[in-house]
């Protein structure tokens, strides 16, 4: 099996790929990016927490116009994983309005984005209908 790297560091690979969030140890606000502080309480300590792999669709758009290299149309969405909202594409679905519904249940899925010149695979993620 080739070496793999995640598209972003909040995607944890391995036997059980899942997303993590940086949770403020003071107020429990959650973030996905490298932090200088907490946007809610201004704290500066965070711990990583795992997110559920299942969620439901809070919002979506079928995007027909994107940067070069991105296949269109694709489905951009906001997924509620428990109480935490996540940005993700809805994948493994024909991107038509009739196949998408607010509140629909989805689950995390990963895919190979591509290989670099030393053969390492980059792994992306999306959510697919559950």
């Amino acid at each position: 099996m080739p070496n793999q790297v995640p598209l972003v560091s909040y995607l944890v690979l391995g036997d059980d790929p899942h997303l993590i969030a940086h949770e403020c140890t003071n107020c429990k606000a959650r973030f996905f990016d490298r932090r200088n502080g907490c946007a809610k309480c201004f704290g500066t300590e965070f711990k990583d927490v795992s997110l559920p792999k299942e969620g439901k669709v809070r919002a979506f758009s079928i995007v027909h116009s994107a940067a070069p290299g991105i296949k269109v149309p694709f489905v951009a969405s906001v997924i509620e994983c428990g109480t935490t909202r996540v940005s993700a594409n809805i994948i493994n679905v024909d991107p038509k309005p009739e196949n998408l519904k607010l509140g629909m249940k989805v689950k995390l899925a990963t895919y190979v984005l591509g290989k670099d010149e030393v053969g390492t695979e980059a792994i992306g993620f999306g959510f697919e209908p559950a």
Binding site: V5, P6, L7, V8, S9, Y10, A29, R30, F31, F32, D33, R34, A39, K40, R58, A59, F60, S61, I62, V63, H64, S65, A66, A67, P68, G69, I70, P73, F74, A76, S77, V78, T83, T84, R85, V86, S87, A88, N89, P97, L102, G103, L113, G114, D116, E117, V118, T120, A122, G124, F125
Partner: protein, 397 residues
Amino acid sequence: MASENLYILGIHMTKFGKYPNRDLIDLAAEAAQGAFKDGGVTMGDMNILAAGNLRGTGRIGQPLQKQIGQTGIPVYNVTNACATGATAMRVVMMAIKAGEADMGLAVGSEKLAGVGLLTGANVKADGKTWTPEGRFDAVSATDGRIGTETMPGVFAQIGMEYGSRYGEVSFETFAKISEKNHYHSTLNPLAAYQKRMSLEEIMKDVMVAYPNTRPMCSANTDGAAATVIVSEKKLRTLSKAQQDRAVKIAASVLTTDPWEDGCQVLANVNTCTREAAKQAYAQAGVGPKDIRLIELHDCFATAELVHYDNLMLCDEGAAVEHFNSGATWREGRQPVNVSGGLESKGHPIAATGIANVWEIATHLRGEAGPRQIEGAKIGMTHVIGLGNTCAIHILQK
């Protein structure tokens, strides 16, 4: 000082459209000189200049001053995404309230015709070996792979998210909002597009980001707008004609988005708008029902809907019913975007926040011609800068 009233003394917008032979400064100068003429003043009367531009150099104040008058006054160059023009107005107002000026010019100018999709995209070429970069340690571009950063897609989701809270909103409803605005535009000679479009035409047009088709997206155009703002004390020293046409700025508010879960995942334009509206109504001492007409930030048809609710023009969760009642059409109880809105008037970003003030001021002055909303005494403008900023002005005659 802080309680002194401020007035729009002069205001001007260029026709929005394509100006291949005119630069940012030509447009800004036309707007500024038009605002001076409208207000019966000159550059020599200004004590401060605040200038906004987003997609050019971002700093047009001094180049503009070199063309319309170098008087040594302080110049502030500001940006705040699509709220840039409104932010320039706020800087002039603060200078006057601070006692540093009694009259000032705010101007916004943008060249956007022919510009393609506006994205916040962090697209980078895939490197030869994956190398984590940026705040997400991304090894490749994330825009389009982890949701979208394109404006049509972001605002589409903002509209859909409203459906998650209060019941699904149909594609057709969003399209009807666009139908209204394109209908309104037919009466506005300064709109870039003045073509009435049927609901069917709108729904069958090119899909940009479902549920927003092309005519449901703001039009990328060139344009500029400028306004001369004056203190009440100074206004009282001017001619009766000037005083008669001056429009009171009953409220001026700028907010950003307070923390709420998910707000860094999908831009939250609701909280900052609702908070700005609350503050604006309090400042002006009026309620939503007192507002005769509104120019709100319909950067996409999906956005207009949520702001009916955010601006408290309807009961919470009742934006669809509000729209379906006909209230927001120009023949309705409380018309929204009688200018045609950004979808047809055009959206030269930095100009927009002043151009919407021009629209309201023109109605309050009774000078809107065939598209005049009768009996307009109080009007409101609203603009959103993604990222986020909300600016609201309430004007009163």
